[in-house]
Amino acid sequence: MTAHALLLCGVYVAVLVALAIPLGGYCARALGGEATLLQRLLGPLERGLYRVAGVRPNDEMHWRDYTVAVLWFNLFGLLVVYGLQRLQHLLPLNPQELGPVAPDLAFNTAVSFASNTNWQAYGGETTLSYLTQMVGLTTQNFVSAATGIAVLAALSRAFSRRRSETIGNFWADLVRSTLYILLPLSLVLAVALAADGVVQTLAPAAEVELMRAATGPEGQVITQQTIPLGPGASQIAIKQLGTNGGGFYNVNSAHPLENPTPLTNFLECLALLLIPAALCLSFGKIVADRRQGWAVLGAMFAIFLPLLGLCVWSEGQLAPQLVELGVDPSAGNLEGKEVRFGPAASALWATATTAASNGSVNSMHDSFNPLGGLVPMWLMQIGEVVFGGVGSGLYGMLVFAILAVFLAGLMVGRTPEYLGKKIEAFEVKMAALVVLLPSAGVLVGTAIAVASAAGRAGISNPGIHGFSEVLYGFSSASNNNGSAFAGLGANSFFYNLALGLCMLIGRYGIIVPVLALAGALARKQTVPPGPGTMPTHTPLFVFLLAAIVVLVGALTFVPALALGPIVEHLQMTGTHP
């Protein structure tokens, strides 16, 4: 790792923490309905939304009603995105006159955006109209993220309540997350991005004369270039902040109109982890013990930083096979990377985007060196709990915290407690479901794909790396990340359907048990800490929590990783000592 790479990562982490502290406090206030400056400004809009929808924001919901509300809202969102894609040729704001999207691709994309995954089997500039991007995708970028924050708010509340049958009001959580957290941050970021060159216009693509006529792939003479435009900055801001990740263009934030400068790159990369980090501190505030929030954030960093180091180091290398051909290795692995970012900022992004369940990319992970590609793959596989999705990352991590106290309790023979709540059979069952479902999606899905002709048909790289492409795809979909080893030809009936199902399981198969867990915790009495209670804000607990996440992830996935990136690494270096 070079001094510059270290400096870049250090500055990134410092700025991230410095911004997360005030934002964490603010989010806790906004979700609690406390008066903030924005609440005075947008309060009439918030109350207007409730009035028209016939919602009383202070009417608390039982966990079952809360879950039903989440599911209906997400189902309708999914249907709207599906319908917009199928009918976009009949609707306005389609200057490139793009046709309707095929049913299987439209299903995949609708699930992808409703579930906060934003897997892209489509190419933005060649498939979706401006209307579909704005009204369909931008909206889902907001409300799927707000859904995650809402579920987290419900779970956080459950810890601070005693003998309560209710866990909050979904509609209020949804509207407040959108209006007071996501919308203002996006507006600021979008304008900042546009100021530095990210496109934002409703004008159709621009035709320009090339400086030199060029010869195309089929020998034709090309004298013009089509510069694709559109309302990019507004969508790119929320795609980063809401851990969505669906790019405005096909190559996402590697595209120079989506991420034109090192500064836009830093801002977009910061936005990847900003809200997930801040929500840890909000959690501490909601359960009235800030140390608990810092402990969870500490465990996340304890996993994130070593993996970041590994990825940055790996991408600073060049495969010996390429060095032998006469390529200078000093600049690192630049295949699939942009010159303005270089290997360090590309590896930082790759680690951050898969730690968060974001999935946007500024370089092509498929062309990473084997260990550089292992890092993002494994960060997804451990369940998107190291920062993770907005809301969803933290509720996943809290499930691991429950497992951690449970295992610690087993070791010393005491009833485990977390934040004053006794952890009993039902809670552990729900926690186990949350851990097992996405892992099953990854491994079963990969097995079916590599065993079937339809699955193998999508593979583009020969050998071991082809297996990695499939494993990466199912890891991404089942954990709602959305990034890809993009060589995988994922726009086929098989992958659209299989990955669509994985995304559904990975999202709603977790939300339902988490809300059931919230319901059970809220009903319990709080017990005062006794001499046998393990404190959950100490470095010991931070270590234990991080170790449980790493252990579960390693035990589940090392065999699969050994077949993919680890063998590939040995192939790369083994013949060239």
Partner: protein, 190 residues
């Protein structure tokens, strides 16, 4: 069970209006007023009309021009894309060998090793930049083809090199379209 349908539908419609219509239009309005050129693709406009975007790379193959990075989509900006080839992919090794051969054919005195960005394809297929090393590597060929002193070409590269933002962010780079347009401004022609 069913009582949640009405608020779900109405709030979806209202939040769509706020986040899917008002918000992008508001950003479009602000961007159009404050930074009209940047929001509209940073187009380079000559007397004849738009001749490219400062942010989108173009393909150059003449010996007298600086070449851009290899592109998986031949700089077709209407469809961005990358090779997505892994480091052990034979196809990548063959492509790299062919690119090195092409550089050496255009400049028999060209030495090895070659700067990596000049023979490895970018992530977008539209990378507008090359590294300063990649530009200097091509200086002799460009100078010979244009019958210019090499020092003058090197000075032009120096003048078009952008450093790291705040000394930390990004990598040093040269915008190929701008560099080639500046070359045209020098006296000799290819």
């Amino acid at each position: 069970m069913l009582s949640a349908i009405r608020p779900a539908l109405i709030l979806l419609a209202l939040l769509t209006a706020v986040t899917g219509v008002v918000y992008p239009l508001l950003v479009t309005g602000i961007a159009t007023v404050l930074f009209p050129d940047k929001a509209h693709g940073s187009l380079v406009v000559a007397s004849s009309g738009p001749v490219g975007s400062e942010l989108v790379g173009q393909n150059f193959t003449r010996p007298g021009d600086f070449w851009s990075r290899p592109s998986a989509v031949h700089y077709d900006a209407s469809s961005s894309g990358a090779s997505n080839m892994g480091p052990l992919n034979e196809g990548l090794h063959e492509a790299v060998a062919a690119r090195i051969a092409a550089l050496q054919a255009a400049d028999p005195e060209a030495e090895l090793p070659v700067p990596a960005d000049l023979v490895l394809a970018s992530g977008s297929g539209l990378d507008p930049h090359i590294s300063p090393e990649a530009a200097r590597y091509q200086a002799r060929r460009v100078a010979q083809a244009r019958r210019l002193p090499r020092a003058e070409v090197l000075m032009l590269i120096e003048a078009h090199t952008e450093g790291r933002t705040l000394g930390i962010l990004g990598e040093p780079r040269v915008n190929v379209l701008r560099l080639n347009r500046a070359l045209e401004g020098l006296r000799s022609s290819p």
